[in-house]
Each structure stands twice: as C-alpha cells, then as structure tokens.
Symmetry: C2
DNA sequence: TAGATTGTTAATCGATTAACAATC
DNA sequence: TAGATTGTTAATCGATTAACAATC
C-alpha cells in the first residue's frame, strides 16, 4: 500500500467504491476493473486508477483488474470499518435522535455509546438502546470511557459552549453537524457535516441549470 | 455583482458567512472587514476577499469593510433564502423523519410539502404537519404541485428505483442522502449529502493525527 | 497625509486529465 | 502474440496564496 497522502475528495470517494462492491455478488475469483468502477460510479477512469492504486495492498492485474475480496478489505481499512471507535452524541433533538437510530454507524465502525442533552425529559428513556445524560456529565464521561468521537448535533448557538467542554477532554475528533465555525483545540480533528452548505450547493447548481435554458 | 462562476468550495462557504452575521448585533451603520471574517471563521483572508468580492452588490470600502445589512442580503440571495423552493421527501425512516422535523429548512428557503414512503403505517399520521403518501403517488404529485427538489432519504438499495421515478418527472434537483451513485437525467441536478463520506474523512484525519505522535 | 483595507494581478500549489510504457 | 488493462510520468487546469496597486 503506497502512502502518498490522500486528498479530501479522494477520501470521501472510498465509501462509494466500498458500497458498490458490497452491492454486487462476488466470490473469491471475482475481479473488477477500474473501467467498471468509472462507468457505474460516473467517475473519470483516471480518478479511479489513482484512488485505488493509492490504497491497494496488491497491484491490479493487467487485463483483469483487482480482486474484489482484497479490495473490499483495503477499502474497509481506509474507511474505518475495521477499527471501532467509541462515540458520544451531544444534542438529542430531532437530528440527534435520527442519528441515534441510524444503525449504519455501527456497520461503519462508529459505536455510539451515550448521548447528552440539557433537556431532563430525555433522561428517562433510552433511544435505540442509548441513554441520554445531562450535559454536565459529559466531561467526566468522555474521559472515563475512552471516547474518541463527539457527534455534535446541538443548535448553532450552543455549539461553541459544548466545544469548550470537549476542549478539556481527551476527545480525538468532533463530527460537527452545526453550520458554524467552532473553536477547537489544535489536537482535535473536526469534520463538518453542514446541511446548509450542502443545500447552498444544490441551490446554486439549480440556478445555473435554469439559466442554461 | 461580478459573475465569475463560483467553485463548489466557495458556494459551501457562504452559509458560514451568513450564519456568522446573523449571530452578531448590528445596525445600519455596522461594517465588517474581510479580516474579521478570516479570524472568526478561521479562513485565509485571501479566500474571504475573493468569496465576498464575487457576490457583493457593493464594493467594500477601504479601511472600513462592507456594510453588514447589504452583505446579508447578498448572501441570502446566493444561499437561496430569498427564493422558496417546494420539496418532497422520499423515505420517512429515522433520518427522513428528522429532516421533516428540522424547521431550519424553511428558514433556508426550502419548503417540504409532502413525504413519500412504502410503509402504509406512516400514511395515518402527519409528521410535523407534513403528510406521508404512498410511493406510487410520487410521480403525479411532483408534476402537479410544482416541486423543484426531491430529498432522498431511502436506504441505498432502494435509491435507484426512486430515482427512476423522479427521472420521469419535472423535478429540478435531487438532494441525495444515500451513499451511492445514482443514475439521473442530465437535466436534473444532484447534490450529495453522504454521512459515510463525511465519516471516512473524519476517520482518515483522526488516523493521521494519531500518527503525528 | 499616513495607514488600513479593499481589489486585482501574478505566482504557487495541487488536483485532474492525458499520454504512454509495462505487463499478463 | 495481440490486446486490454494497469501503473507511471507528463501536461493541463483550477484553486489557493502572495504581492502590490488603488482608495478612502
């Protein structure tokens, strides 16, 4: 496996390859070519070549392609399925609840073991087997339970105060669903998942398309 | 307002500027400089300059900056707040339900007026005031109700069959929450919102950070 | 006027695309 | 062997960063 560093775009494409492979039937002698990926995922074949060469443990075979079973394994490593991380979710509102019910995370190696909120009504019942605790217990919980990831699903105007707490913990990464820039310790990794940004992108493309006519 | 075309990254940053301006107090004589944005949003100042110059209806004033009230208006145009679009949501599972309850969309100009699902149990009750209809009514509904956007929150393995229906309608854009490449008519715009890709990105950064030590 | 900030032009960097050699 | 596909190197394109002129 070559170890040039991967671009963000690249990293975000790997789940697409993996999801496609998981959707097809294959056995130990099934191979797949770059071209097939390019066709089905609507990617430039050069992109596919570079993407897969960068993370494959075995070279592709000329005229044949790559062994599906090996490739799946390589992709799972990159995407994080192979290594389970413990996570907490902060903000058990509608979006937070949806994520707590989203069992796909476990399949991807992300193990949500607790949630936090300021609303006491939520402390009574668990959500999909996950308990909700008071926000003030967050710091202790993270440090004592080997938590790597915090999923941030609080309203924009409360995001920073939660981050201030997380900055005092040993958390490694924050998955930020708020549409706001947060001030995070440099040793903590942030990945943003902003609906507002995604919608802005959709809207902008739509307007361009309308102007084509 | 200059009309060079905007890059995707650029477009996705505009909601950040807007959200920041909405979070501060200002009156008609409040101005903001590129540098302030750069500091608070943790962006390179050159990026801010280009971003704002590209969409501003008035030039910024040397030594002073841009008028906040004008800038907000310009940003709202770009981000789509100024123009309401009708949307339907397909797939009223956990994620779909969360989005139906996510009132922020309306604030951003996206007006979800109906949902669709194959589960008959959902047809009885509305979700946050939005009715759920059988999937087979989707095509008719879209064409008759001036729907511009379809929000796709079905499982990966059902995404394409829904898209096949949408391809036969006058829909303008699909907001795809599935982690899978979909086959869409060329006149339909697609914006992907993949948790799997975002998580892959987070995981990858986290691993890099661990290796630094 | 001096100085801070904008706007614009140029330089750098990185990613994407194209071309071609290597290989089974 | 011929041909398809991989892997690698080179060329292009675009975005980011830097430098500087314009302006209030």
């Amino acid at each position: 496996m070559k170890r040039n560093k991967l671009s963000q775009n690249q990293v975000q494409r790997y789940p697409l390859y993996l999801d496609y492979l998981r959707s097809i039937n294959f056995d130990d002698n099934t191979y797949i070519s770059n071209r097939e990926f390019a066709n089905v995922l609507k990617l430039n074949i050069e992109v596919v070549k570079k993407d897969l060469a960068a993370i494959s443990s075995e070279k592709g075979l000329p005229r044949i392609g790559r062994k599906v079973s090996v490739l799946i394994n390589d992709l799972m490593k990159i995407v994080g399925v192979k290594e389970e991380l413990n996570a907490v979710l902060i903000g058990a509102g509608h979006l937070g609840k949806a994520l707590l019910n989203f069992d796909d995370f476990k399949k991807n190696g992300l193990n949500i073991i607790a949630a936090f909120d300021i609303n006491p009504l939520l402390y009574e019942v668990d959500i999909n087997g996950i308990n909700v605790y008071p926000l003030k217990e967050l710091k202790d919980y993270v440090d004592k339970n080997n938590i790597s990831v915090a999923i941030l699903t609080v309203p924009n105007n409360h995001a920073q105060e939660v981050v201030d707490i997380l900055n005092q913990t040993k958390i490694e990464a924050i998955w930020n669903f708020a549409t706001i820039a947060i001030n995070v310790n440099p040793n903590i990794v942030v990945s943003n998942m902003s609906m507002a940004s995604s919608y802005a992108n959709l809207y902008h493309q739509l307007i361009l398309k309308r102007k084509e006519r």
